[in-house]
């Protein structure tokens, strides 16, 4: 017998391998004109894997103290062999991962994959999106350069505006009243230990749920297939879809390498806590829409502080987003249109505000 068959037999005798693997062998992916959107989740997972690998490599040389952080990143970028590549891939992949996470979320929304029985898949997915944003925010500070320092200052200031508990949140995030070396240590801990631990749990949950319920089919296609069962087309996950996924991942890897080599990530200047903030400080692009909104909110709305109201509004929207599948109004015949409309509005708003924030002074 072949080596593969022998190993499989050995595993099966001890762990019931065939029983474990059987559902994976049977796993299929529905094929229709909107099937390409199915790649986004896998790409996000792939980029997360890249982050873990490049992150571990960076950990071999990075030093998380205010005195040495910047110098260690500079060392990685200039002295370590291919350090420039690892660092740039890590930064680019972080941004691409946030983008694909948002894209995946919106595609799930518009294809209505959140509907029964996949509500918890949606919830775990939104939690993962928030975790990705947390990864981005905490990781951004780690090079300890001017931009990162002031972006963190502004970001934690906003967090401090939450009524009642804002100050405690600010102290918790910063490890003190101001952004200092203590903040750096804390953010490092969040970035390499706390968030990865939580993310692992939620990724396992998310993938487990996807495996349990299978890949969702958009309602209209489902309707078509109900009327004409012979039109139903499915593709085996192993090996057909997986091979296609490999192609997509390879292309992603090539894109990352090209971005890292042609548009390497800048290092900037070391943070100086006593220098005044440079003009036009902006957070990373994925926070721009919120930042720009808060800038535009009038300072007082009906005698209440405008910025606090803005922050609370974002919190409210975030909470509603988390439980979106439960908000679908069932009273109307086309009740889901409300959510699709809300999703379209959210997407347009985020895109427009991001562009606005980018070009504004």
């Amino acid at each position: 017998m072949s080596a593969g068959a022998y190993v499989r037999g050995w595993l099966d005798e001890r762990f019931g391998w065939e029983q474990l693997v059987y559902p994976l062998r049977k796993k299929t992916v529905p094929l229709h004109r909107l099937s390409y959107w199915y790649f986004l989740g896998g790409i996000t997972l792939f980029l997360f894997g890249i982050q873990v690998c490049t992150g571990i490599l960076l950990l071999l040389y990075y030093r998380p103290s205010a005195n040495e952080a910047f110098e260690s990143v500079k060392y990685i970028s200039t002295q370590v062999q291919f350090g420039w590549l690892v660092r740039s891939i890590h930064s680019w992949s972080a941004n691409l991962m946030v983008f694909t996470a948002f894209a995946h979320m919106f595609s799930v929304l518009f294809l209505r994959a959140y509907r029964k029985p996949r509500e918890l898949t949606w919830v775990s997915g939104v939690v993962l999106l928030f975790l990705a944003l947390g990864f981005g925010f905490s990781g951004y500070l780690l090079p300890w350069n001017t931009l990162a320092f002031f972006a963190t200052k502004v970001g934690t200031d906003v967090a401090g505006q939450v009524p009642l508990v804002g100050h405690w949140i600010l102290i918790f995030l910063r490890g003190g009243e101001e952004v200092t070396g203590a903040t750096l240590t804390r953010f490092f801990g969040f970035h390499v230990a706390v968030l990865p631990g939580i993310a692992t749990v939620f990724i396992a949950l998310h993938l487990g749920l996807v495996q349990k319920f299978g890949i969702s089919v958009p309602p209209r296609v489902e309707q078509e297939w109900r009327e004409k069962p012979e039109a139903r087309r499915e593709m085996k996950f192993f090996p057909n879809f997986l091979l296609r996924e490999m192609v997509a991942w390879y292309i992603g890897l090539g894109a990352l390498a090209a971005l890292a080599a042609i548009y390497p990530w800048e290092l900037g200047a070391k943070a100086d806590p006593f220098a005044p903030a440079p003009a036009g400080i902006k957070p990373e692009w994925y926070f721009l829409f919120a930042f720009q909104t808060l800038k535009l909110v009038p300072s007082k709305i009906l005698s209440l502080d405008g910025e606090v109201l803005g922050i609370l509004a974002f919190g409210l929207v975030g909470g509603l987003w988390l439980f979106l599948p439960f908000l679908e109004p069932r009273r109307f015949n086309r009740g889901y249109r409300v959510l699709t409309g809300a999703g379209a509005f959210a997407l347009t708003y985020i895109a427009a505000m991001t562009v606005y924030g980018w070009v504004a002074r």
């Binding site: 490599l57 071999l60 040389y61 030093r63 205010a66 005195n67 040495e68 910047f70 110098e71 260690s72 500079k74 060392y75 002295q79 370590v80 062999q81 291919f82 350090g83 590549l85 690892v86 200092t180 070396g181 390879y250 890897l253 806590p273």
Partner: protein, 168 residues
């Protein structure tokens, strides 16, 4: 019951055709396997090679921010100074007349010339535009607008180490 007689020659030709087809099919499959295998292996190599080079540390472990060995006690007499390399910039190590060591940045805050120690004045002087600093780096006369950044000095036995002032 076949009504047609089967010509052995035709059977042999058909069999040869099938074998040729199979061979072509096999060789194409082998070619494909070789292509994919080769491509995957080559691409993996192009990922693994940089990673292997990365994990082996470079020759200089100096981050440029830590302690720098600025000199030895023996090489500096009292009321003398030397320029040493601090990261990528020059630093000034002074041994005062009292024997105490001081270290500060040697980049003048006016137009970035390199300063020097004047033993007869016991002050730090910039030759470009006659700027003067006192022994604590304070700018006391001439064009310099800001003091020289002071560094911390630690003497370990015969060796003098200089590092930036530790942040809070």
């Amino acid at each position: 019951m076949p009504t047609q007689q089967v010509c052995p020659r035709m059977v042999a030709e058909a069999q040869a055709q099938i074998r040729a087809d199979e061979e072509r099919h096999n060789s194409r499959r082998h070619f494909l396997q070789a292509l994919v295998g080769g491509g995957v292996v080559a691409s993996l190599a192009s990922f693994v090679y940089p990673i292997l080079r990365y994990v082996l540390p470079p020759a200089s472990a100096d981050l440029g921010a830590g302690s720098v060995l600025a000199g030895t006690v023996a090489e500096l007499k009292p009321n003398a100074a030397k320029i040493f390399r601090f990261g990528s910039k020059p630093g000034l190590l002074i041994r005062l007349a009292s024997g105490e060591f001081r270290a500060m940045s040697a980049t003048c805050t006016h137009l970035s010339c390199t300063v020097q120690y004047r033993g007869e004045l016991q002050q730090v002087w910039c030759a470009c535009h006659n700027g003067m600093y006192d022994l604590s780096g304070r700018n006391i006369s001439g064009p310099p607008p800001r003091p020289l950044e002071l560094y911390e000095v630690h003497v370990k036995g015969e060796e003098i180490y200089v590092n930036r002032k530790q942040e809070a």
